[in-house]
Symmetry: C2
Subunit: 457 residues, 2 copies
Amino acid sequence: MKWPGSARLQEVFVGNGILVLGAGRSSRFLLKQFAEFCGKTGRILTVCDASQQELDKHTACLSLEGKVLDASDSAALEQLIEGKEMVVSLLPPLMHPAIAALCLKHKAHFASASYVGDAMRALNFEAHSSGLVFLNELGLDPGIDHLSAMRAMDEIRESGGEITSFESYCGGLVSEAHCADNPWKYKFSWNPRSVVLAGQGGNSLFRQNHQLRSVPWHRLFAEAKTLSIPGLGEFDAYANRDSLSYTSLYRLDEVSTLLRGTLRRENYCKNWQVLVELGFTDAQSTLPVSVCSVNDLCCALTGKGSNQLLSGWLIENNWIRLEQTAWFDFLNLESKQALGFKPNKASEVLESVLLDKWKLMPGDCDEVVMYHRIGFVKDGRKQQLHSVLSVTGEDEMHTAMAKTVGLPLALGVELVLSGNCPETGVIIPVSKYWYNGILPLLEQMGIRFAEHTEFSD
Amino acid sequence: MKWPGSARLQEVFVGNGILVLGAGRSSRFLLKQFAEFCGKTGRILTVCDASQQELDKHTACLSLEGKVLDASDSAALEQLIEGKEMVVSLLPPLMHPAIAALCLKHKAHFASASYVGDAMRALNFEAHSSGLVFLNELGLDPGIDHLSAMRAMDEIRESGGEITSFESYCGGLVSEAHCADNPWKYKFSWNPRSVVLAGQGGNSLFRQNHQLRSVPWHRLFAEAKTLSIPGLGEFDAYANRDSLSYTSLYRLDEVSTLLRGTLRRENYCKNWQVLVELGFTDAQSTLPVSVCSVNDLCCALTGKGSNQLLSGWLIENNWIRLEQTAWFDFLNLESKQALGFKPNKASEVLESVLLDKWKLMPGDCDEVVMYHRIGFVKDGRKQQLHSVLSVTGEDEMHTAMAKTVGLPLALGVELVLSGNCPETGVIIPVSKYWYNGILPLLEQMGIRFAEHTEFSD
C-alpha cells in the first residue's frame, strides 16, 4: 500500500526532520541512532527537554539541536511541532494524546513506546485519513514483546501449529553482579514511581488453565509465582495489568492460558507484598500532617512504638521470617531523619527511600530479561517454544533498558520515514512489516532471543 | 440568643409544617414522633418517598400527607420544600447539600442524621445569616454518640477532671437470640452497601497510647481488636474513619488515645478480612463480562477450579482454620446460580449474596450497642468512665436502629421548632443545649446509658 494520493503525500512530507520530546533516562540509544540516521538522510534532529543539563549530555557528543522546553507550554510545543516530519515522545504517557493532536494539525507522524489508551485510539480515523502514522507501544514492553511474540506465533501458525497457551514475561532488573549487597536485588532502570505503584491501576486479569483470574492489587504480589527461565534461573513473576486485552490483538481466543507477567529476582515479591499490606505503597489516602520521617510513617502504619524496630514488629506479627529482616533493614525504614519534603501519600515516602537505596551507582549494569513460553500442538504433538532475551547494560548511563526501549522505537521511526509503511492511523506494531523490519536490525545490535522448542506431551 | 430580629423571624417562620424526605428503613419511629408532635402543635406533616408502597405503610396508621417523589426531580423537590418550616432528609448523604441549598432559598430549616461534608459546611455562613438551623449528625452514630459523650466529658471537666483518653464504639447488630444459625451473627439493620464497602473511603486514622495510626483499608479488619463491654461481653471492634477529626469538636487535643470504632460480634472481623483480601468487597475494578454467578467470581478471585469448594481452597491456603469454613459455607459462595443482574464490581456480587443471607426475617430483633470508655485524672487519681447503651428492636420493622436514628433526629427537630434554639447555621449537636434537650427524653423512651466509674491507677 502506498500513501493515499500524491497530493496528500506532498502535504504529509513538508516536515524537515525529527523532533524528540524528552532527553532523560531512556533517550541515550535512541538519540544516537537518530543522529546517525539524520546524518545519512540530511534530516535535522531537534531534541527538547525541561533541563538544559540533560540536553548538554547529548549535544556534547551528538549532532543535534537541543531546546529547553516546558512541555506544559502548549504554544511553545506547537511551535516546535510545526514543520516537523515526525514527533517522537518520551514524555509521560498522559501527555501523548495532546501531542498527537498537534501532530494531526501540523501533518506530522507521531511515535512513542507507551500503551495506546482510549484518547489515542480516538485519533485513529483522522490520522488514517490524513495518511499519518501514529506508532505506539514500540519500546521494550510493550514493544519488543509484540514483535518477538508475533513473529514466533506467526511462524508456528504458518507451519501448521495451533497455539494453545501464551505466557510472556519481562523485567527491567539489575545485573546480579551489581547488587550483591542488596537483598532486594533490584535497582531502578526506569520510572521509579511505576515500580512503587505497580498493580494499583485495578485488578490484574488473565486466564490460566482455562480459569479466568481477576487478582486484586493488594494481593497481586502474594500471588506471584516462581518462574524458571531456561539458561537464566529462577525469577519471581507477577501478573501485569489486563492480559486478556491481548486476546484479539494476538489472535488468542482459544488458548487455555493467557498471561503477561513482570519479572523480579527471587523473593522480591513476597517482601514487596509486606510493604503493600502495611500500606507503604498507598497513593490514595492523605497522610496526617505530623508524618515527617520514614519512622513516623512506619509508626502510623504498623503501630510500633518508636523504640522498637520495624523488623522486630514484622517478626512478632509473622509477616516475615527471621532471615528476611535484612530486606527491610536494608531500606532503613526506621529512619527518624526528616524528609526533605512534606509527603501527602505513603507512596511518596517509600519512593523517596527507594530512590536513594535502589539507585544505579557508577559502574552498575542493569539487565533486561524477556521470556515467552508458547504452548502449541503441531502434527498431533504438544510442544512448547521457549524464547529468551537477556540484555545487560554497559554502565549506569548506557543501560539495557535505554537500549531496548530506544532502539526499537528508533528503528520503527526509520521504517515510517522510509516512506514504504503499509499502515496508517494509530498503530500497535504486531504485523510482519514491523517485526521483519525491526527484529533483524536489533539482532545485529545484540538484542537477540535464544529459542528452543521441546515436546511436552 | 434569640432569632436575629423580628422581621427575619417573620421571614423564617412562614412555613406550614415539616417535610420528611424518605420513608424507608429508618423512618418508622421518626414519623410516629412527628405525627404526634404535629398533632399537638397543629403543623402539617408531609412525607415523600419514591415508593407508594413505603408511604402506604405509614399513612395506614399515622396522620400524614404521603407524596410519591423522585428525589432527582429537583423542580418537584423544590415545589415541596417551598412554604415548609423544616425539611428532614433521610435520603443518601450526597443529596443533602442540594436539598439544604433549596432550604436556604425558601427559608426552611434542615435536619439530617448524616455527617457534615465540605459542601454542607460551605452553607454555614448563609444559613447563619438567614437565621436558619441546618442540624446534622443527629441520629445514632453520629448523633447519640455526640450527645452522650459530650455530656459525660462536660461533667468530668466541670467536676475538675482532665480527660486523658477517649474511645467510643457503636454497632448496629442483630440480637444474639435471633442469629443462632448464622455464624456471622450479623444481619442488616441499616444500609447494606455501607457494610460491604466499610473502610474503603481511605485509611482509618486514630491515636492509641500517644501513637498516631493510619491503617490501610485492606488491613482494617485484620487490625480489629477484641473489646470487652461491661455487662454485654466480648465484641470485635475496628477503627471507624478519621477519629482525629473529632479532636477539636470534642476538645481532645491532649489525649493519648482517641479512637472511634465500629462493633461486630466476635470473630466477624477476621472472617470479613478474608473477603476483603480475596477481593469480594472491591468496588473499583470492573469485572470481566463473563462473571455471571457467585461461583464465577470466586473462581476469578481465588483461581480455584469449579469442582473444588471455596472453603477447601481457603483451608489449603491457610486463610482460615477448619472450624471457620462454616462462615463461608453459610454464604453459599460457590453458588453457580446465575445472578439476576450483570455485576460491574465484585462488591455488587457480595452485596447481592448478603442481602439474601443477612436479611432480618419476620420476628428478628436487631440490637444497637454503644460504648464510651473515657479515661481521666481527677483529684490526682486515674479513673475510667464506662458508659454503655444497649437497645433491642421490637421486630424486623420496629428496629432498634430505626428508633435510635429516628428519635434523636425527631427530638432535635422539635427543639429547633420550639423557637428557642440558641445556635444557627450548620450545626453538629455537641453543646449542652442539645444533649440536655434530647437525652432525658430519649431516656424516657428507653434509650438509656448505664454508666460506672472505676479507678485505674
